[in-house]
């Protein structure tokens, strides 16, 4: 279905246009924004200070102020309103009406995405003429084409955050619907704080702005992907467009059915693969990072970032007991011997195995790219990768086990387990430090937690034999994999033996 057909007479979009753009509400707002934007533009014009306009910073300050004003509309108001609009429709029951209407989920999603942000977009548009005026008065005309890319990058960046906000609005539990906007805002703020880290900075428009700013020479990192230099705008597109695509996929699936998984299992793996490729592609930038103290900084960052992403991706496709039971019974009714492995309701084992394999592939590639530059022993590196991969496996198996074994309370018990496996060793080592225990005891205790163990096994220490910490960490993770695999098999067998009809 084409974008035009989705937009044409889109009922949700029309609804928002009517409710958000009532003349008596929007005209005062527009007037305020136009006056503010006009004042900013005036301050940057040669009219305000013609004598030394070219020498002073007025134009530059006005431009930055204009970007900030536009950023408020695109990155604060639009995501906030979209998240709240979707959450309110769910909470009030209107979303059910939309879902039972013959409208396509994509049309509904587009209606909420554009409709919810309509007011913010109109206010943003009202500032554009002033921005363009400032751009075309650039004291350095050669930079004008690059500056013109900034509003475009801001719009795409805004679309990314608004899509994320819509997903939050559609997914946040109903009792927390009032906070959907706050969650969306928190995501935007966190993403902007992360602009210093190259794989994340491309989610915002900041690199494009920095590229044309006066501080270009002071940038902490260059712009390249897989070592190939590229303009920041292109890099932003390269990072944002696939992520917008995946967000849209998740939004559409959630719009179709309230309790749907955001991704199917193959889509989740593809999502991880894309994020892995983007992260590896940015590795060369991390190598060049000026505050990097070791050439292992890049691969280690990749290792931790991808570990978090792998755990997250594994978690979002793990079915609850009811979903698995429903899937099994449905399969039986259809005459199938078992639930297809890649169906949404199937257990997560195939996905976490694939995630583990993909993770190994990406992190191995990351470390190979710095081989020979710095001394990390092959043994330590293998132990570190083993710990990370085993962590992905036991996290997935334990998550599935607790959800199937303890139904509603499964998530709480899973949290308790993670506390014991991840946090407790670090707490114990902290206690050991306080009680004056020897440093190798502290390190060994700490290595039992994978988060500390991965880092510790990377760097051999003076007090501990070379591979011992890595061995401890990997062994602990392996034991947990074996334990949870046994428990997982037992509980899954009980569910899959269900009769077709009770």
């Amino acid at each position: 279905m084409s974008l035009i057909s989705l937009l044409h007479d889109n009922p949700v979009l029309v609804k928002h246009r009517r409710s958000q753009l009532r003349r008596q509400q929007i005209i005062p707002l527009l007037a305020i924004v136009v006056v503010i934007a006009g004042c900013i533009a005036w301050a940057g014009l040669p009219l305000a200070n013609p004598a030394n306009w070219r020498e002073n910073d007025n134009w530059h300050t006005a431009l930055i102020m204009m970007f900030i004003l536009q950023g408020i509309f695109l990155f604060v108001i639009a995501p906030l309103e979209v998240a709240n609009s979707a959450a309110r429709a769910r909470e009030g029951g209107m979303m059910d009406f939309h879902r039972v209407s013959p409208q396509q989920p994509a049309a509904l999603a587009l209606g909420f995405l554009l409709g919810g942000s309509l007011r913010a977009l109109l206010l943003y548009a009202s500032t554009l003429p002033f921005l363009l005026l400032l751009i075309f008065l650039d004291p350095m005309p050669a930079k004008i084409p690059a500056l013109l890319l900034v509003p475009l990058d801001m719009l795409i960046s805004g679309l990314f955050f608004t899509c994320a906000a819509l997903l939050i609005g559609l997914s946040v539990p109903e009792q927390k619907a009032n906070h959907a906007g706050s969650f969306a805002l928190l995501l935007v703020i966190l993403s902007f704080f992360a602009w210093m880290l190259p794989p994340l900075c491309y989610l915002s428009f900041i690199p494009t702005v920095l590229a044309v700013s006066k501080e270009y020479s002071q940038l902490p990192f260059g712009y390249s992907f897989f070592g190939i230099a590229a303009p920041p705008f292109l890099l932003s597109l390269l990072h944002q467009l696939p992520l917008i695509g995946f967000l849209w996929l998740a939004v559409e699936r959630t719009m179709r059915r309230e309790r749907a998984f955001p991704f199917s299992k193959p889509q989740a793996l593809l999502f991880f693969a894309v994020l892995g490729l983007l992260t590896i592609g940015d590795l060369s930038v991390l190598h060049m990072h000026h505050y990097e103290s070791s050439s292992l900084f890049g691969p280690t960052t990749v290792l931790y970032v991808l570990l978090v992403i792998a755990l997250f991706v594994g978690a979002i496709v793990t079915p609850r007991l009811t979903q698995l039971e429903t899937g099994v019974r449905h399969a039986r009714k259809l005459g199938l011997a078992a639930l297809p492995r890649w169906s949404d309701a199937a257990v997560n084992l195939p996905v976490i195995l694939c995630l583990g394999a993909l993770y190994l592939l990406f992190t191995r590639a990351a470390f190979l790219s710095v081989s020979g530059e710095e001394g990390v022993s092959r043994c330590n590196m293998l132990l570190m990768l083993a710990t990370a991969v085993f962590t992905i496996l036991y996290f997935g198996l334990a998550h599935q086990f607790f959800l199937l074994r303890f139904r509603k309370n499964g998530f709480n018990y899973f949290g308790l387990f993670l506390f014991a496996a991840w946090v407790l060793p670090c707490l114990l080592s902290f206690v050991a430090v306080i009680t004056g225990a020897e440093s190798h005891t502290v390190e060994r205790l700490c290595a039992l937690s994978p988060w500390a163990g991965i880092g510790l096994s990377l760097h051999s220490t003076q007090n501990t034999p070379d591979a011992l910490l890595g061995l401890l960490s990997a062994s602990m993770a392996l034991v947990l994999v074996v334990v949870f695999f046994i428990l997982y098999r037992r509980v899954v067998r009980n569910v899959t033996m269900l009769p077709a009809v009770l």
Binding site: N10, K15, M94, D96, R99, V100, S101, P102, R332, K333
Partner: protein, 308 residues
Amino acid sequence: MISVRDLRVDYDDVCAVSDLTFDIGPGEIYGLIGPNGAGKTTTLRTLTGLLEPTYGDILLNGLDLATDREEAIRQVGFMPDFSPMYEDLMVWEFLDLFAASYFVPIDQRKQLIDDYLQLVDLTEKRDAMTAGLSRGMCQRLILAKTLLPSPQIVLLDEPASGMDPNGRNLLKSILRELGAAGKTVLISSHILSELSEFCTSVGVMERGKLVVSGSVAEVSERVLGSSALQIEVFAGAERCAELLAQTAGISDVRQDGNRFTCAGAQGAEEDAALLAALVTAGIQIIGFGRKKEDLEDVFMKIGAKEVS
């Protein structure tokens, strides 16, 4: 036409609907009754595709909801038991939203909206904000929204709750018209006396199962047995008691002064003969007839207890 086979719906720990099988034909107005938590709302929400059944087949006008969802739900108009509303819209805008959602051509919408506002007696509120409507008015507006796309299947969950007597009369007449127009109507309600006035058939749910289903008379008969014969005399009570005791088919005669209540599944013909015999015997009859059982009695007998 609604056809449901072996439907089961589970929530986390709860089986909300189990082994549900029923058919509702065109022109039929089917009332679904049962105590709170019996599974009525779950059944209706599953029929709209809002809930995914654990298993079971749902056919809406011959279209399988599992495989042909979009076409199937196009046949359905759904009114939930509460009135969700976009409070920042005017009444006509609210209806226009749903006219557009169901692809009513733009040039036909204004007339259609005016017609349905008139149908639910909300013409005067056309340009009012929905936030200012009373609960009963909201229910009527939702009813208009439900009927506006002219669905073949109408699912109504407690439609009369919050409506004043005028609103209820309006609802009754609309439902009768829908039945006459050959639409399939499934309605769940607690206002049982009114259901029996316009439902052509009813089903009673308890603990997720359909306990009994059929016409109102059939269901009453199966649940309550035959209704009691009640006789009131002005004079001749003793003679009346003697005669009743001698009459074949009459049993369990209870006397309370000049009033008699008897059990016995007699037909109209036998009742007429008995009345004639009593009059011939010189007994002065001032009341004679069978107690009319209604759905309320059925409901109380089957499951007046709260399940939830």
